[in-house]
Symmetry: none
Subunit: 233 residues, 4 copies
Amino acid sequence: MVIRQRARLAEDKEVRRNAILDAAEKVYLGEGGRELNMAEVAVVAGLAKGTLYLYFPGKEELLLALHERHAEGYFKALGALLANPAPVNIDQILALVQKHMVEPPAFLPLASRCLGLMDQCLPEETAVTHAAHVGMALEQLGAALERRFPALIRGAGTTLLMQSYVLIVGLWQLLQKPKNYPNCQDRIEVRFLRRDYPSELDQALRALWLGYTEPRGGVPVATPQSATPVELP
Amino acid sequence: MVIRQRARLAEDKEVRRNAILDAAEKVYLGEGGRELNMAEVAVVAGLAKGTLYLYFPGKEELLLALHERHAEGYFKALGALLANPAPVNIDQILALVQKHMVEPPAFLPLASRCLGLMDQCLPEETAVTHAAHVGMALEQLGAALERRFPALIRGAGTTLLMQSYVLIVGLWQLLQKPKNYPNCQDRIEVRFLRRDYPSELDQALRALWLGYTEPRGGVPVATPQSATPVELP
Amino acid sequence: MVIRQRARLAEDKEVRRNAILDAAEKVYLGEGGRELNMAEVAVVAGLAKGTLYLYFPGKEELLLALHERHAEGYFKALGALLANPAPVNIDQILALVQKHMVEPPAFLPLASRCLGLMDQCLPEETAVTHAAHVGMALEQLGAALERRFPALIRGAGTTLLMQSYVLIVGLWQLLQKPKNYPNCQDRIEVRFLRRDYPSELDQALRALWLGYTEPRGGVPVATPQSATPVELP
Amino acid sequence: MVIRQRARLAEDKEVRRNAILDAAEKVYLGEGGRELNMAEVAVVAGLAKGTLYLYFPGKEELLLALHERHAEGYFKALGALLANPAPVNIDQILALVQKHMVEPPAFLPLASRCLGLMDQCLPEETAVTHAAHVGMALEQLGAALERRFPALIRGAGTTLLMQSYVLIVGLWQLLQKPKNYPNCQDRIEVRFLRRDYPSELDQALRALWLGYTEPRGGVPVATPQSATPVELP
DNA sequence: AATGAATGAGGTTTCATTCAT
DNA sequence: CATGAATGAAACCTCATTCAT
């Protein structure tokens, strides 16, 4: 399957970039847990292997981009929710997490994979770019959060988002049931695995958000190292 | 062609297994972020590559074993603390986390790596064995925890430990500062990276533990899917 | 997207063709020993990659054309020298070689590269065209040579030129000192490399020319396979 | 075709190395003028591609090794001839050249390819090693030559060998008839190509050797740059 | 005519893993 | 048991060339 169309305009390029990400996502889901295979992505995208490298410097960047595309959906939805003047409660937040992170089958594996990338020595450009993307979104959403939940002191919004993210992904990693081995339930020792991700997550996030947003239960929040003095109202 | 003395007794084997783990740890720390390299481990251990596979089925199992060795230290210490009839407070717990997880330079990278392994298709034996190891320890420690903190309802002890673990590792992954690129601080976009892991972690754990152990603030805890109450000795 | 003015007239085309050759030469000299890179040539020429292929069928043809442009200078100068009724001696020939082949920094690398091309399966058109260019020049110059040096029997002029060319290029290849590794001189084994190209060449050519042009030392010269005497105008 | 034997002894390794060279030679000859293809070599050698790189750092080194293996045959034969106390004449030398260089179908293409390699920036180790191999052989044989031909002054033996080599390879490059295009003879312009390599070579080498070995016709020979003062007998 | 995105072949490299010795 | 040569898959990379625009 040879694509002869050329993406000449920046717009077309964006389209093709997204097509590659689509292909990568399909491949990533298809391979039950195996590593993403660039050759396969190329085939699925209907492109030559070399073409992938015109759009992404390497596999890691491709994964990060895919993850960012997913995260963006979540960020946008959360931003919209927080921008809305109607009152916001935690159930809405949880529903949003459910919809954008738990349900899409690719999100959690990808997030897990990318979180694992963070502590490897990525090329500087890659690392900083990704940190910037995520960081800025988190800061903005955190600030919006603080506006909607006055119990959150300055900086606590971003903190809360970060910790939520970590719990969402980390609990999933921990409670992942290897789908390939359904009979592993038989073993008495794995009682631990029987814990159910959705309910554990629900509970964890509720605890976390209530802890931070309850009028009085609020936990003092560490401000970023470099933060200018914080005015408490 | 080095013919090393053979480990015939089970005892010798244990010694050699540990020697391999020592080598792996040394290598893992040495490589700033690179993947563990089996050839290098073999060299450092003074063994041939093939010999490693007599003691560990593969690289992943080696990593998990290394991680378990570290985790065991933490589990033992926590068990001892909880077994002690003296009153326990969160500061002691945090000190323990600090000492066994944050300070040892290998713990967090390893934990991160192993958490990332969880969602890949490990051989069943491997996955279940590891889950059993960790799971049983967490259940026991969770139960002990519940005995010391009456505010914790049944099952909340293990839940609390799991969530703590996830926060400890996940926040580290998120806030890892790429050590190779000290000048990345210059970029305005990475304000996000300036957050400080130790203080974020401290705050997160405090919130979590207080939330669960406060007499009244307790969050209702989901019990494991298997409804039957679990008796731990 | 640079839309350059189009070369509509044959004259313009020739100009552009030469501009490409200029660019290629610059690139070829710039890259210390690396292969000529078409993309780079295009950039230096201020053209798109594809445009190069409107003027040259491929890289090899570009190299050959570049080489021919250089060789033409040498051929012209030699032709002029031989056309001149004044007496000719070997020193003049050697000076000419020095000036047109040894001194221009691009000549020897190019000649070496093109000589190496000869035994690869070039497209027929390419091979024959180049052979024709060079061959005709050599035949004519050889004939002129024979007129000026009566000791040369028929055919020996061209033979002499060919052998000279081979020595000029071949000795250079053999005695090339890798400029990137100045410290390779330290090794005792490379005494061989210490031989000096200019003096070896001088000696070789003198021997050759004297051997052929000395009244009596003349070596009998094989005539081309095609027995028929060749009339050159 | 999977070779399961392992080369454990240095001797076995040498055998396998030679097997790879055999395969490379077969491939090199098979491909009429195309570049040596490592994958194909691996297939023909019955080895995995990766295994080639256990024996040779890269393609260029493989080619050079192949060339050296051929050259060694020539060097050995020449050494034997010169060691023999019986009188030596140029016909014997020419026969040797014919047998070891002209007739084996791989020699000249390889020599041509390797000569072309010389002016590219090879890895230092590679370049120096090869120069050392060839250089030492030439120096030794040159010295032996000088002993057998008293007309050769010091250093002239090596010089003569070098110039011979250059003529052998260079004339072949120049007079190569593209075998794939037999009909190129039809063109009037390529009269030049009709010259016959064997006879041109014979003539060139005779001239060269006579020039250097004739009692009186001897051409003064440049001594290597670093040479200690030369005693003339 | 000019463009440059896309191609695709293939060299290089790395490495976990296997298995004949 | 121990060895390390061999495997083979895949990432990575470079580049001449093509061809839709």
